[in-house]
């Protein structure tokens, strides 16, 4: 959701500032200066105008920089956690195969069980903790700021007075948004899908844990319950919920429904 929102805001920035409001950015700048010279007819204001423009460009650059920063962080974090968890699940699968063959001594088996449990809980806790601390709040802010702009764009598309080019741009914006949402959410949804993947091997593994390692049995039971819980581990959008494939599908469906409603 984080990535989606940032990409959407980026798209809003491009479409609103460059395409939709006027034809190009150059015309905006030109008209800005022209209005100053031909409407105000006061040259003393020129340094003020230049300063104003520079501050405006600086602020847009600043927003862009922050969006890009969060965007890349979300991609990087999801890829890193996903890859690490994939390696861990492969490790668990390998231990299960070795245990089935009886190729592991009790000490090696316990060491493997301990290392998986330790690393998996550490990673999932870190993922949840860091998400709750900063990123869920950030993504929620991004989403909350997107809602009015989306409402306005739907309202604008419903206007019968709109000309051809303006209507095309608004529709292009909406289609762009749907595609970018879908792509951006897929990364985070994939990460949320991969994290509880290890639970498939745990019931089989429980059979091979001997009675002497009762603590491991209990801990793996807890891990299984934690992974099968309804509350998924992954990036969340504030209090709304974690990003999964289901959520991705729902969001895209809502967007497509608005499009179909507008066409009718």
């Amino acid at each position: 959701m984080l990535v989606l929102l940032i990409t959407c805001t980026y798209l809003v920035f491009i479409n609103v500032h460059i395409l939709n409001f006027s034809d190009t950015a150059v015309t905006i700048l030109l008209t800005y200066f022209l209005t100053v010279f031909y409407q105000q007819l006061n040259v003393y204001f020129l340094p003020l105008v230049v300063l104003d423009l520079l501050v405006y460009i600086y602020l847009i650059g600043r927003i862009m920089k922050m969006f890009v920063f969060i965007f890349s962080l979300a991609i990087w974090a999801s890829l890193f956690y996903m890859k690490h968890i994939q390696i861990l699940t492969e490790f668990l699968k390998k231990t299960l195969i070795l245990a089935q063959k009886g190729a592991l001594s009790q000490k090696a088996f316990s060491q493997r069980l301990f290392s998986f449990l330790n690393e998996h809980t550490k990673i999932s806790m870190l993922y949840n903790f860091t998400d709750h601390e900063v990123w869920s709040r950030v993504s929620f802010h991004c989403m909350a700021c997107q809602i009015p702009t989306n409402i306005y764009i739907v309202y604008r598309a419903m206007d019968p007075k709109l000309n051809g080019s303006k209507l095309i741009v608004t529709y292009l914006f909406m289609v762009n948004q749907i595609v970018m949402i879908f792509i951006a959410l897929m990364f985070l949804a994939k990460a949320a899908k991969v994290i509880p993947q290890g639970h498939r091997y745990i019931p089989k593994l429980q059979c091979f844990i001997p009675k002497t390692m009762l603590l491991f049995k209990l801990k793996y039971m807890q891990l299984y319950e934690r992974l099968n819980n309804k509350k998924k581990i992954g990036t969340a959008v504030g209090p709304i919920g974690t990003i999964t494939y289901k959520m991705n599908f729902r969001v895209c469906l809502i967007k497509l429904n608005t499009l179909s409603f507008l066409q009718n």
Binding site: V12, F21, E133
Partner: protein, 230 residues
């Protein structure tokens, strides 16, 4: 002077990802850092009020204060907007509000917490180790020529056989380079593995190198996007 300014600008944008985290963690309590971000915050607030006024003045027309004489942006906005175009002010307001909230969330958050420690450990320190542990140029050339010899023994596939010689050479060159990057042979993995991370001691060196590579790649893409946008 211009070239030096351009170089510094490129350098600051090339390592945008690393620099942001490094500055925020290492110089969080410094006066310059605080001053920069506080001034950004106040600028955002000022522009927020400016855009609010833009909306209000278009709705209540003619506004008694008539500040559009002095605010050029508002003047331009009113001059070119037709029908309900003035509602674009909402998007401007939301963008600035978003920027304000992001600035507050990212740069006025506690740095001692785990989330920033994790970022610092994973990105800043790992990238420093990554930049130090490249293979020497002799070893890289040796690996390159070994691959080239191996490639020359193999038959080139039917699609590329009829290419011109220059294009074929370039294709082989890029393929070898990509293989070197893909197999992580351009970096000394043993040297990289000596420096273990504080938070993730059990993560393999291969995965750490891959994450560093993704960071580098994202940085290049981001710098291109920012350059295009600005």
């Amino acid at each position: 002077m211009l070239t030096s300014f351009y170089k510094s600008w490129v350098e600051s944008n090339c390592h945008i990802y690393q620099n942001l985290i490094k500055n925020n963690v290492e110089h969080h309590h410094d006066f310059n850092h605080q001053f920069l971000h506080r001034s950004n915050l106040y600028l955002f607030i000022a522009y927020l009020f400016r855009f609010y006024y833009l909306l209000i003045s278009t709705i209540i027309n003619p506004h008694p204060l008539k500040l559009s004489r002095y605010d050029f942006f508002e003047h331009m906005f009113q001059y070119f907007s037709t029908d309900k175009d003035y509602f674009f002010g909402v998007t401007f307001i939301m963008l600035t509000l978003n920027g304000l909230l992001l600035e507050h969330d990212l740069f006025f958050h506690k740095v001692d917490t785990l989330s920033w420690k994790l970022l610092y450990d994973r990105i800043v320190l790992d990238l420093q180790i990554y930049q130090k542990s490249f293979q020497s140029s002799d070893i890289q050339m040796k690996l390159y020529y070994e691959k080239l010899e191996h490639f020359s023994q193999l038959k080139v596939s039917a699609y590329f056989r009829y290419l011109p010689k220059y294009c074929l050479e370039k294709y082989i060159d890029w393929k070898i380079r990509l293989e070197l990057y893909n197999n992580l042979e351009f970096i000394d993995q043993q040297k990289f593995g000596q420096f273990k991370s504080y938070l993730f001691p059990n993560v393999s060196a291969k995965l750490r190198i891959q994450t560093c590579m993704t960071v580098m790649m994202l940085e290049k893409v981001n710098s291109f996007i920012i350059a295009m946008a600005c």
